[in-house]
Every structure is written in C-alpha cells, then in structure tokens.
Subunit: 306 residues, 2 copies
C-alpha cells in the first residue's frame, strides 16, 4: 500500500474555499499597506468587503508593521478614508514596541532613543515612557572635525528602530553610541520589512533597511516585535478570546504577514495587491506558502455577495 | 609519547620578533585610520617610523578601506600631515571599486550610482566610468505623496556603496531601485567596516552601516572589494613583485585588516591605536588572531632605533 501524503498546496481563492474560510474563522487579522491601502490610496472594494465581514459577525483586527503612526493616528487615517475603525482594533508595530517595554518592565525613569516616526514616540508616551529622537532629529547634522565629541544621552536604556524616511548619520551615530556604550541598552526593531508601499505607485525601503543599518554599525541583532514575531498575539488573544486556529491572517508579504500567521497557528490568505507577485509566490525558491491567495481582498466580497 | 601541537599564539611586539619581522619582510601594507591617523590627527611617532622603514629598504603600501577620498586626495592628506607618500603607494577601497569594474569589463556606456564620498566618483572617472549620486544627492529629499513616481536612471549597471555621512532616504531609494529593477545591475561594497575613526575622539558608523542598509532594502548581498577581500592583492603583486609571505599587513581591525593579511598569506601585526582594544583581542570569542600585536606602530621605531 502506497503512503498517502496529505499535501497542503496553496490554493487560489474560490467560492468553495471562501465559504469554508468564513465558516471556520471568527476573526480576520488584516495587514494595512498593500491590503487596505497603498500609501494614502484605498485599494478597490475594501470598504464593502470589511462591511460584509463585520455583517457576518467577524471580528476585524488591523495588524500593521508600519510604525510611522500610532494606533490613534491610524484610526484617523481609516476614518479619513471612510472606513469606521476604532483605535482598539489596531495593532501597529509602534504599539508593539511600547508594549514590549511595558511587559518587560523597562524602568520608566530610563529614556528611549527612536529612529522612526512620530507614531513610536506617541505610543511610548501613552505607555508611560520618555522617548526622544525620531522626527526632531531628522534635520540634525554632524561635524566630523577634530576635538568634536558627539554626546549622547547615557540614560537611554532602549533604542527602537522603525521605518524612517528622515534617516541620517546623526541618528545612526546616536543609536550606535547608545547600543554600544550604554550598559544593558536593548535594541528593538519594530519590524524588518525590506520594503513597503510608502506611496501608491512604488515600493520604498522599509524598516528592514534602517534596522540593518543599525545592525551594521553595532554588530548587534535586534529584538523584533512586529510581524512575523508573534509578540502581539498575547494581547490579541486576551482581548478577543478567540483561538488562533479560528483567526485568518490576511497580508501581502510572505516573510512577515504569512509567516506571522503560520507562526501563530492562524489560517493564512495572501493578497497580490501589495509587494508579492504571483511569480514570486510560485517561484521554486519561495518556501513560505499561504493556504489561499487571491488578487485583492475584495475578491471575497465579489465571490460571496450573492 | 604525547602529541606535540605547534601553537601560534599571538605575541606582543618585542625586540626579538621586531628584528625577525624586519628581516623577513620586504613590504609593509599599512592601514590608515587607526594606524597612521585618527580622523585628521596623526598618531604619535608615525613619521619617524615610516622613515625608518623606508631607510631599511622596505616598500610601504597604504591599504585603506575608507572610500571617502581618492588615491590623489589621500596623497594630499599625507603630504599635508608632513608624510611623503605618493598616489601610487595608496590602495584605497574607492580605487578598488573602480578597478573591480575595469577588470570585469563593465561597459563604459553604462552608469554607476554611488552611495559614498567624492573619492569613489573620482576613481570611477579616472578609470573611464560615469558615476553619479554621492555628495550631490546628499541634500535631496523625497516626496511620499500619491501619484509621485520616484524616477531612477535605468542605465545604471552598478551601484557602489561606501561610507557616507550624508546618507539619506533619497539615496537609499535610488540605490534600491537600481539594484532591484535594472536587469543585471551589480552591487559593490567598498568594504563592510562596522565603524571607523572618522574623528580623533570617537568611532562612527562605517561603510558596513550603509552597505547593510542597502542589503536590508534589496535583500541582496554585495561584492566586497576592500579588505578583507584580497581583490587588490593582484594589483599589489603585479606592481611590487613581492611574494605575500614577505609582506606584513599592519592594521587596527581584526575582521578587515588582520583577516585580509591572513587571507592573502601575509604576516600580520595588530596595533591597538584604533578600534580594537586588548580585551577584545584577548576575548575568548575572538577567533581572528594576528601574529604580533602592539600599542602603536611607533613601538617598532622605539624598539629598533638604537
């Protein structure tokens, strides 16, 4: 008798598996960039799809690695795009960084140096921590002259690095000195996405670029709190009390979204509306396979609306 | 009978091994940052030491990973510090990048995009190539707005990345687009030093930081042309016709200078006047051992002057 091997090949979304997915899932975890929007432009059919999922009693949770904004700022963005989403439904990597410090009892009298956007500083503040750096250091320059000593805050106990379109040598030296010279200083990466749809027409270097730069200068590896790390899953489970097997992660990146879903034991759905093309998905070198893939999230709506 | 294992432990410089070294070596390959100078400040005793080595008939070759300057600019720097060194005695990683393209028959009608200093652009020009980027892109900014397309030169066939104190998101996106989207575009790193003595008082992020940033965004690994790669050794050997066993590499970094010397089959001398401390050298986790170490290069002069 021949061995029977159950293969779980990645399937395109169909009426059959879309129905099965909806029946077996209580919560959809949705990535934002490349799933909901590209830059500030909404992807076609998103509002009606989210509305349909809500109308069927599904919980919606937005899990984004983009740390530029805080949860509050993301809620505003959703609202400005005409999608009703509350702050509590958003789990951003900026929030994850602050929660990592809280859970690990980071001393509130210590400071946090930030390479990244305002969102990280805002989440740190909400969690009771004092951050500096970020946008305010974006215009600072360095003097490479004799007898000039670049001073840094010896009270920095953690450096958080996220995507930063205002990266410069000042910030790189600042973060490097904190990590190399402040005893016990921890190095947190919001995420390591190589690129992201920072605008609707193009991909741009993501947090993976800034994080790698700091790794390159410090020769240290960071603690990653965003996807594919499942650090946020504890918060999600406490809040919604849904087993991960009844959650579906929907995302456009294999190495963050789909891997996160797999790591957490969720169902996985890849959409091709972001950084992953069908040829990348089906390339023999790709070892991360979602359970289902489709062009864009509204395909669920189109299949099930009737 | 017990096995006898010949150990080649790293020895401190002494009168005995200094004499033996001079007797067995015809050329000294000298790193610059941390050996000759720190930033723009000469390290004590360098001029008399170099003079003594020359007076004993030793060839001097300056092999620097710092790509900020061209060979011509380095010769000026030496002269301004009162040390007579000619352009031909200098092998910088900026020169190495240009030579790599030449040796590999890079088409001169293609362009080269540069993250790094003027030195790289100058060496490219001397070798007959057209480079752009570098300092001129240091003040450029990006617009992360809808419908804005970041345009890049589709004729760029190589990206060269070296240390760049004017790194910004514009350059990172430019280099990333060339490497990801221009078919066959090659990615060259002048070197991957984590840090360097960009000023006399401090270490600063080195080319390893900028190179890692580009790796992080492109998910590609570069061709490294500076130390510890022995790419330049062919040029050195053709020029001086000295076997590598009769060369001594003198440097302050284990993972570039000393490894380069070992890779090439040279004698190796570590000086503690740069980025490596005695405790780092002797830490059990350090696996790169020079043959001899000493505080600074002038210790040779002090031992042998009498």
């Amino acid at each position: 008798m021949a061995d029977v091997e159950s293969t779980t090949a990645c399937q395109p979304l169909s009426l059959t598996n879309a129905r099965e997915l909806l029946d077996s899932v209580d919560a959809f975890l949705l990535d934002c960039d490349g799933v909901i929007w590209k830059g500030d432009t909404l992807i076609d059919g998103v509002p009606e799809t989210l509305e349909m999922l809500r109308s069927k009693g599904k919980k919606l949770v937005f899990v984004t690695n983009n740390s530029m904004k805080s949860r509050k700022q993301y809620a505003h963005k959703f609202q400005s795009l005409g999608i009703p989403v509350t702050e509590e439904e958003i789990f951003s990597s900026s929030f994850a960084a602050a929660m990592y410090l809280k859970v690990n009892e980071f001393p509130p009298q210590k400071n946090v140096y930030v390479i990244g956007g305002e969102g990280i500083l805002e989440e740190l503040k909400l969690a009771g921590f004092t951050g500096h750096g970020g946008p305010e250091d974006g215009a600072k320059t360095v003097q490479l002259k004799a007898n000039t000593l670049f001073e840094h805050d010896k009270n920095v106990g953690a450096v958080v690095v996220g995507i930063d379109p205002n990266l410069n040598y000042y910030k790189l030296q600042y973060a490097t000195l904190c990590i190399r010279e402040n005893p016990g200083c921890i190095f947190i990466a919001t995420n390591r996405d190589a690129t992201g749809n920072m605008t609707d027409l193009q991909e741009w270097p993501g947090a993976g670029c800034m994080v790698a730069a700091v790794c390159g200068a410090t020769e240290k590896e960071p603690i990653v709190v965003g996807k594919p790390s499942t650090f946020l899953m504890d918060f999600l489970q406490k809040k919604y009390n849904i087993p991960t097997s009844r959650m579906c992660m929907v995302g456009d990146r294999l190495d963050t979204d789909i891997l996160f879903g797999q790591n957490a034991g969720c169902r996985t759905l890849l959409v091709l509306s972001g950084v992953t093309s069908q040829s990348t998905l089906q390339d023999p070198s790709n070892r991360i396979q979602p359970q289902i893939y489709t062009n864009q999230i509204s395909d669920i709506f189109d299949l099930l609306k009737s």
